[in-house]
Symmetry: C2
Subunit: 336 residues, 2 copies
DNA sequence: CACACTTAGCTAAACGATTAGCTGCGCGGC
DNA sequence: GCCGCGCAGCTAATCGTTTAGCTAAGTGTG
C-alpha cells in the first residue's frame, strides 16, 4: 500500500502538502495540487484511517452491541444502524452479547481498545455499574437501546413497554376474552417487566385478575417460548387468549399451538408485541403492536453523534417511542 | 485514557517493559512485572489497538459485505460471522451494499482504508474486475460468499444452486405437477441463474418444457417477488406449482397468493430454496431446500484466516455446500 | 530602497504502541 | 583478578498520518 510519503516523493512535495490536498485543509497552488492528485491516482493512494485516527484521536468507528443477533428484531436494528452510521461518515463494528453479562463485559472492553467513538448498547442484565466501570476514564458516549438500566447518565431510546402490553391486552379484552395469559421475557429486563406490567394493568383496569399459572416468562427466544407455551397450554384450564412479549416468542408460541394440535385463533387467540417482517402471507397473521425500528435507530445514532460532538455536558436524553397496534387474524372474539 | 507511557511512569519502568508484560513477549522479573500489573490496574490501562495495529501492520479487523442485510438469510450470516470471527480474535465491521455496485465500490475502498485484514464479500453484479481493481497493490484477502463472479483468484464458499433448484423441482414433479413455474432472482447472479437452471434441468429430465410466461425472475426481495407472483398468478393459465428461489421471495409469493384469495397448497403448491427461521408454527410450512448457514460461514472465516496467514501463494479454494430438502405442507399432490 | 506583512510550502514533533539493538550488571571460569 | 558471556531492562526508531511553527519569497507602502 502506498503511503503519504510515497505520494509526496512522486509529486515532489512534502507530506504536509499532500495532507493539505487530501483534507482540503490549507491552500495549495493549482500546480502542486495537480501534481499531488496525479501521484495519488498513479499510486492508488488511500490514507490509512488507522494512522489518521491515531493522530486525530478519533476513529470514525461506532460500535453496536445487541443482546441477540439471531433475533430478527435486532437484525433489523443492525441493518438500520449500518445505513444511518454510514450517512454520518462512520463505520459500524457489530457485537453480539448473546444475553451474557460476561460477554458484554469483554465486548465493552474491546470497544474501548478499538477506540470506537461511541456505542449503541442493548444492555444485558440490570446492573449499570458494569457499563460505567468498563468505560471509566474518558467516558464512552453510549446510547442505551431498547432496554434501560438504573442509570441516569446515558441517553436512552426505548419503546413504551407498558403501553405495548396494555394495548395488545386491551385488544383481547375488547374481543371478550377474560381468561388471558401471558408469555413475557425475563422480568429483570425492562422489556420483560414493562410489557407484563402493561398487560396486568389492562386486566386490572377491567377488574380482572389473571390466574397465576397463566402468567409465564422466559427468555426472549423462539425455543424458550415454545417450551413455556407448550407447558402452559397443556394444562387443563388453559386461557382463551395469550399476550406474547415479542416476535420470535410469538412464533415459538404458534409452533407450540400447532404441535399440540390446536388452532389459532379458533382454540386460542394470540396478540403480541413486536413483529417478524414479511410473514404477512402466512396464517395466522399475528395481531401485534409494532414499533418504528428505523426511526428508533436513527434517533439513537443522532443522539450518539451529538454526544460525541458535544461531550458529557449535555443532559442525558431519554426518548420513548409509542407502539402502534396492527390487527391481524390471530384473535377471535369470545362469545359466551 | 491511560497510555503505555503513563503506565511506565507509574510503575517506574520503561515502555518496553510494559509492552513486554502486556504481550508476554520477553522475560520480566517478577518484581517489575508485579509493579507493571499494579500500574495497569490502577490506571485501567488497555492498549490502543489503533496504535498497535499501526505498528504491527495488522488491525484485527475483518469486514463482511452483504448484498442485503434486511434479508434474514444475510442477517444469519452476519450473526454467525460475528461469533466465529470473535473466536479467531478478530472484530467484525459490517457493511451492506444493498445490491448497488457503486455502494460496493465505496465500501471496498473504505475497507482498504480501515486496514481490515480480510473481507467476506457477497459480490454484487458479475464484474470481478472491480474487486481486484479496488484491492490492487497489496491484494486484500477475500472470500466470496454465496455468489461467485468470473474470478479464479478468490476463495469461494457457495451452495450448489443447480442441485437446490433441481431437488425442489423434483419434489414438485414427484407429486405429479407438470405445469410448474418459477420465480427466481436476477439471472446475472449465480444464485439466480443456477437455481433456475436447476429447475429447468429437472423439468427437462422429465421431458417437460415450462411455459415461458411461467418462468419469471426479479430481485431477491419480498416485495419484488410479491409483484412478480401476483402478475404471474393473475394470468388465466396459471401453473399448478411454483419454485421460488429464496426465503423472502417465498414469503412474498405467499402474500400474493393470500391477497389473490388463493390457497396454498390447495390452489397452488410452493417449493423454495432457503428458509426463514422460526416460522414452523405458521401455515403453510414451506417445503424448501435448506443450506447450512453456520457451517458455511465457519468455513468462509476459516479460509479467510488461513489466507491472511499464508498469503496469496495458496491455491484458491472453492467450497460447495449441498442443500437438503425439508418437506413442509406447502405442496399438494396433483391428481388428474 | 528598506521594512513590514502575508503566505505557500516545508520541517519536524506528535499520536501510542512495538521492537531492534544497546547498556551495564552479575556471575563463572581460568 | 580479569575477561567474557548472558540477560534484564532501557533507549530510540518506527508505523502513517496531522499540524504547529518556521522559512523564504513575494507584495505593498512610505
Amino acid at each position: 500500500m502506498a503511503t503519504i510519503k510515497d505520494v509526496a516523493q512522486t509529486a515532489g512535495v512534502s507530506t504536509a502538502t499532500v495532507s493539505a490536498v487530501v483534507n482540503d485543509s490549507a491552500y495549495v497552488s493549482p500546480e502542486l495540487r495537480a501534481r499531488v492528485l496525479a501521484a495519488i491516482k498513479e499510486l492508488r493512494y488511500a490514507p490509512s484511517l488507522l494512522a489518521r485516527s491515531l493522530r486525530r484521536g478519533h476513529s470514525q468507528l461506532l460500535a453496536i452491541v445487541v443482546s441477540d443477533l439471531s433475533n430478527p428484531f435486532f437484525a433489523r436494528v443492525v441493518c438500520a444502524a449500518e445505513a444511518t452510521v454510514a450517512d454520518w461518515g462512520y463505520s459500524l463494528v457489530v457485537f453480539n452479547s448473546d444475553e451474557k453479562p460476561e460477554a458484554e463485559k469483554r465486548i465493552l472492553n474491546r470497544i474501548r481498545m478499538l477506540s470506537c467513538e461511541g456505542t449503541v448498547l442493548v444492555p444485558v442484565g440490570n446492573s449499570n455499574q458494569r457499563i460505567h466501570r468498563e468505560f471509566e476514564g474518558r467516558p464512552m458516549p453510549t446510547v442505551l437501546f431498547g432496554r434501560t438500566v438504573d442509570d441516569d447518565k446515558s441517553d436512552t431510546v426505548v419503546i413504551d413497554n407498558l403501553s405495548a402490553g396494555r394495548h395488545a391486552t386491551n385488544y383481547l379484552l375488547d374481543l371478550g376474552h377474560k381468561r388471558i395469559g401471558s408469555i413475557t421475557g425475563p422480568l429483570q429486563l425492562t422489556t420483560g417487566r414493562g410489557r407484563l406490567d402493561g398487560m396486568l394493568a389492562a386486566m386490572q383496569a377491567r377488574g380482572l385478575t389473571p390466574e397465576p399459572q397463566h402468567i409465564r416468562s422466559g427468555e426472549f427466544r423462539e425455543d424458550a417460548a415454545y417450551s413455556v407455551a407448550r407447558n402452559l397450554l397443556e394444562q387443563p384450564d388453559r386461557p382463551s387468549a395469550l399476550y406474547v412479549a415479542n416476535g420470535v416468542m410469538a412464533l415459538g408460541t404458534m409452533r407450540a399451538i400447532a404441535d399440540l394440535g390446536l388452532k389459532c385463533p379458533d382454540d386460542i387467540s394470540i396478540a403480541s408485541t413486536d413483529t417478524i417482517p414479511g410473514i404477512g402471507g402466512l396464517h395466522p397473521r399475528i395481531t401485534r403492536t409494532e414499533h418504528p425500528v428505523v426511526d428508533m435507530v436513527d434517533e439513537a445514532i443522532r443522539l450518539l453523534v451529538d454526544r460525541i460532538d458535544r461531550g458529557p455536558e449535555v443532559e442525558p436524553r431519554n426518548v420513548v417511542f409509542q407502539p402502534a397496534l396492527v390487527v391481524g387474524d390471530s384473535c377471535a372474539p369470545l362469545d359466551r
